[in-house]
Amino acid sequence: MSVIWLSAIILSISLGGFVLGRRRALASTGGSSKKLHSLPVYYGSNAFMKSVVPAFGILIIWMLIQPFYINSQVAPMIPADAVETDVNTGLLMSEVRRSAEGIDEAVRSGMLDEDFAGDTSADFTVMTERLKDAGQIVTTQFSAPVLRAAQAYRKMSGISQTMMTIVVIAVAIAGAAWGVMQSDRDFRARNVVEQGILAILIAAASVAILTTIGIILSLIFNTIEFFRLYPAADFFTLLEWAPSFSGRGGSSSLGILPLLWGTIYISIIALLVAVPIGLYSAVYLSEYASARVRGIAKPLLEILAGIPTIVYGLFALLTIGPLLMSVFGDDGTGWMGGGRSVMTAGIAMGIMLIPFVSSLSDDIINAVPQSLRDGSYGLGATRSETIRQVVLPAALPGIVGAILLAASRAIGETMIVVLGAGAAARLSLNPFEAMTTVTAKIVSQLTGDSDFASPEALVAFALGITLFVLTLGLNVFALFIVRKYREQYE
C-alpha cells in the first residue's frame, strides 16, 4: 500500500475521532455546550491530535529506519569474494536496491509473476532474460548473489511495509479511541490541545537548529572520511590543485590554497567595485537626495539585489567577458587569454553587491544622531565636511560591519564564479587570468562522475566546511560590530 493511501486512511480515522470525540463530549452534558469545560471543537481536536501525531510520527520514523535495517540484514548475504576489488559494498548495495526495484517494476507490468520473482531457487540466467524482456536495465554488476540479495531485499521490505501499515493504523485507531474516551464534561480539552499546539510550535522552531546540526554533521563526517583518505596537512598547505580523474586518490594533489587565493582575489575585486559605488550612493541618498529622488533611486538600486545570481553569471560570461576581451585581450593589450577571468567574475559580483553595501550603509548612516550633524553645521562646516569628518567616522564601525557582510556574501557566491571565473586553479597576481574558487570546485567535484567515496569527491565536503567556517566567522564578527555600534547610539 502506498504512503499516500496510508496517509489518507490515517486522516480519515482521525477525522472520525474528531467527530466522535465532539459528539461524546456533547452527549455527556445532554447536548448543552455551556456545561462543558471547553468548547466542543476542542474535544474533537483532542481526539484528532492524539490520532494523527503519533501515527504520522511512527510512519516517518519507520520509513527512515527501514532501509538501514534491511541493508544491515541483506549486506552479509553477498559473499566477500563476490565483491570485486574496485567495487565497494556501498555501490553493490545500491545495485541490490536497483535490482529489487527492477523486479518490482517487472512484476507490476505483468512480465514477471510474483511466485517466480520471489523464488530464491529461480535460475539466474532465466531471471536476467525475463528482466531484460520487461524492459529493465540489467547492468554487468548484476550477478547471482546480487539477485539473491535483491530477492531477500524485496521480501523483507514487503514484510516491513505490511507491518508498518498494521502498526500505523493500529496506533491511529488507538489514539482516536483514547481521545474519544477522554471526552467528558469535566475533561480540560482546551488546555490539552493548547499544550499539543505549543509542542508543535516548539518543534517547528527547532527545525532551524536541526538544519544547522544537519549541516555541521554532514560536513564533519564526510570531512573526517576525506582526511582518512588524504592527509590533512597536504590539504591545507599544498600549493597545487590537481585532482586526478582516473584513479582513486593517490596521484591527486588537493591543496586548498590556490582555491582560497582565487576566492579572496575575486572577492577583493568585487568589493573594490561595490564598496565605493555603494558607499557613495548611500551617502548621497541619506544626506543629499530629496525624498523624490530617494524614492526612485533606492528601489531601482534594490532591483539589482533581487536579480538571481545565475543572471549575473550569464552576464559575466556573455557580456562582461567579451567586453574585457576586446580591451585587454589579444586585440588590445594582450593581458587576457580568455573571457573567463578573475576580473570578469569580480565585476559581475561587484554589481551584485552594490545594493547590499548601499542599503546596509544607508541604514547605518541614518542611525547617526542628527545632533552630531547639527553640531558640525553650527561650527560652520559644509555638508561634505560634516559627512567626511563627523558622520562617516561615527558610522565607521557599522560600515566596516556592512563591508564584512558583503565580503561573506562574495566568498559564498557560486553561480557567478562557476560561469565567469574559469576552472583552472592557479596562484597568480594577474587579475585577467582565469582562476577558480572554493565554491566553484565544490560544484565541479560533486557534479562529476567520480564516486562519492573517492577523495576527489569527498574533498568537496572539506572545502564546504572551510567555506562554512569562513562565512560564519565573518558574519558573527560583522553582526557583533554592527550590534555594538547600534547600542552606542541608542
Binding site: L219, S281, F452
Partner: protein, 451 residues
C-alpha cells in the same frame, strides 16, 4: 600670553567681502560640489549597470521567442516508409528517422526547383544544412500516428536548423560561415531566396515556452517548459512546508518563547542560517536527503526540501516582524475578554499579521525560484527530462530540472545558439520574479495597517 598666538593685524586677510568669496571658501565649495558629484556618480553607475544588465538581457534574449520554420509539402513515399504496403504501424516503426530525412530534403529541393531559384546546390543531401535534425522525428511521429497518410503529400511546418535561424536573427554572420562546416554561403543565399516566397519564415516560438530541453546538436528545438514545471513543483513543496513551519516557528519565538538561553540559541541560529552560502545547503541536501535518506536524485521533491530549509530563515524573519507590528493592545483586549493566550494569537494576532506574512512568503519564494547552486549538487541539471510529468507523484519524484538550472545548462554548452536560449530563459524567469514581487508590493500597499 594668548594674544601672541593671534596673527598680527598686518597678516589679516584684506578683502573679506560677503559677495566675492575668497580662495579658501571657493576651495571648500568646490570640495562640496565634488563630493556631491561623487554621490551622484555612485548612484548613476549603479543605475547604469542595472540598465546595461536589463538591456543585454532583453536584446540577447528576445531572439529566443522567435523561431525560423520551413513550410514544405513532403511526399510520404510508400516505397521508403512502408515497403510491404500494409500500413501496419508496428512494421513502419522499423523505419528510423534516417529513412525520413531524404524525403524532407527532396521535398525542399523540389520547392527550390519549382521556384526556379538559381543555386549551386543540386542534390537533396545539400539541403540537410537547412533542416533541423528534429524535423525527421516530427514527420515520423505524424506518419506513425496516421499510417494512412503514406503515399500522400502532406504540408509540414518543420524547424529550420539553428544556423539558418541564427542567420535570420543576425547571430550567424556571412564572415563566420567560411569557417563553419555545418553550413555554406550558398545555403544562406538559398535562405535569402526562400524568405520572400514564404517557404522560410520566422514566427513566434511557442515551443520555447512549452517545450523540453533538446540535445546539444538541436539548439533550435530546446525549450524551457519542462524545467518550468520542475520549478513549479519545487515551489509547491517550498510553499507547503516553509509557510506552516515558518509561521509556527515565528509564533513560538515571538509570542510564547520564554527569555532564556535556548531561545537565544535558536534566534542566533536563525540569523546565521540566513547568511549561510546557498551552496552549503546543497551539500546538506546531497548528504542528508540523497546519501542518507536515499531520496531519488534530481527529484523536485529533494530540490524543494533543500530550498525550504534555505527560505525558512527569510520567512521566519519577516513573519516575526509582522507579528511584532501588531500592537499589544489587541492581545490585551483578547485576553481581557477571556481568551486563552493561544486563542488570542490564533484568532486575533495572526489574521492581522497575515498580509505581512504573505508578503514575506512571496518574497522568500521568489528568492528560492531564482536559486541555482544547491540544485546543481542534487543533480537537477543536465539533459534529464524530455516529457512533462503526468500527475503529482511523478511531478515530485521523477527527475526534472528547474528554470535557473536549465539556464545554467544552456550557458555551459558550446553552441552559441544555446546562449540565446539562456537569455530567453532569463527573461521568463525574470517575468515570474517581477510578477511575484509586484504581487507582494500590492499586497503590502493594499492590506498593510499602520497602527
Amino acid at each position: 600670553m594668548t594674544d601672541a598666538s593671534l596673527p598680527a593685524p598686518s597678516e589679516r586677510r584684506q578683502h573679506t567681502s560677503l559677495i566675492a568669496p575668497d580662495a579658501r571658501t571657493r576651495k571648500r565649495k568646490a570640495a562640496e560640489a565634488r563630493f556631491r558629484m561623487y554621490g551622484i556618480a555612485g548612484i548613476a553607475t549603479g543605475i547604469f549597470f542595472l540598465i546595461v544588465l536589463l538591456v543585454s538581457i532583453v536584446s540577447s534574449g528576445a531572439g529566443a521567442f522567435q523561431q525560423t520554420f520551413i513550410n514544405v509539402p513532403v511526399y510520404l513515399d510508400p516505397a521508403k516508409l512502408d515497403k510491404n504496403g500494409n500500413r501496419d504501424p508496428e512494421e513502419m516503426s522499423k523505419v528510423s528517422t534516417f529513412g525520413y530525412s531524404p524525403l524532407i530534403q527532396n521535398a525542399l529541393l523540389n520547392i527550390v526547383n519549382e521556384q526556379s531559384i538559381e543555386t549551386p546546390l543540386e542534390k537533396g543531401g545539400d539541403m540537410k544544412a537547412l533542416i533541423s535534425a528534429s524535423a525527421a522525428a516530427q514527420v515520423r511521429d505524424v506518419v506513425l500516428a496516421n499510417p494512412d497518410l503514406v503515399g500522400e503529400t502532406v504540408d509540414f511546418r518543420i524547424l529550420a536548423s539553428s544556423r539558418v535561424d541564427g542567420y535570420l536573427k543576425d547571430r550567424v554572420q556571412r564572415e563566420d560561415v567560411a569557417r563553419d562546416k555545418n553550413i555554406d554561403a550558398e545555403h544562406l543565399d538559398l535562405v535569402d531566396a526562400l524568405l520572400p516566397v514564404g517557404v522560410v519564415e520566422k514566427t513566434f516560438n511557442m515551443a520555447f515556452i512549452t517545450g523540453a530541453d533538446a540535445s546539444e546538436s538541436r539548439a533550435e528545438s530546446a525549450g524551457i517548459g519542462v524545467a518550468m514545471i520542475g520549478s513549479f513543483f519545487m515551489m509547491l513543496v517550498v510553499l507547503v512546508l516553509s509557510l506552516p513551519i515558518g509561521v509556527a516557528a515565528s509564533i513560538y519565538l515571538e509570542e510564547f518563547a520564554p527569555k532564556n538561553r535556548i531561545t537565544d540559541v535558536i534566534e542566533v541560529n536563525i540569523a546565521n542560517l540566513a547568511a549561510v552560502p546557498s551552496i552549503v545547503f546543497g551539500i546538506l541536501g546531497l548528504a542528508v536527503f540523497i546519501q542518507f535518506m536515499h531520496l531519488p536524485q534530481s527529484a523536485p521533491l529533494v530540490g524543494g526540501l533543500v530550498l525550504t530549509l534555505m527560505t525558512l530563515p527569510t520567512i521566519i524573519i519577516s513573519t516575526r516582524a509582522s507579528l511584532k507590528a501588531v500592537p499589544p493592545s489587541i492581545r490585551d483586549a483578547a485576553l481581557g475578554v477571556g481568551a486563552s493566550k493561544m486563542q488570542a494569537v490564533f484568532h486575533h494576532v495572526l489574521p492581522l499579521a497575515a498580509p505581512g506574512i504573505l508578503t514575506g512568503t512571496i518574497i522568500g519564494l521568489a528568492q528560492a525560484l531564482g536559486e541555482t547552486a544547491p540544485l546543481l549538487l542534487i543533480g537537477m541539471v543536465g539533459f534529464i527530462a524530455s516529457n512533462a510529468p503526468d500527475g503529482l507523484a511523478s511531478g515530485l519524484l521523477d527527475p526534472n530540472s528547474a528554470m535557473p538550472a536549465q539556464i545554467y545548462e544552456w550557458a555551459k554548452r558550446a553552441d552559441p545558439a544555446f546562449y540565446e536560449r539562456a537569455w530567453g530563459g532569463i527573461i521568463i524567469l525574470l517575468v515570474f520574479l517581477i510578477t511575484m514581487n509586484t504581487i507582494a508590493v500590492i499586497l503590502r500597499r493594499r492590506f498593510e495597517r499602520r497602527w
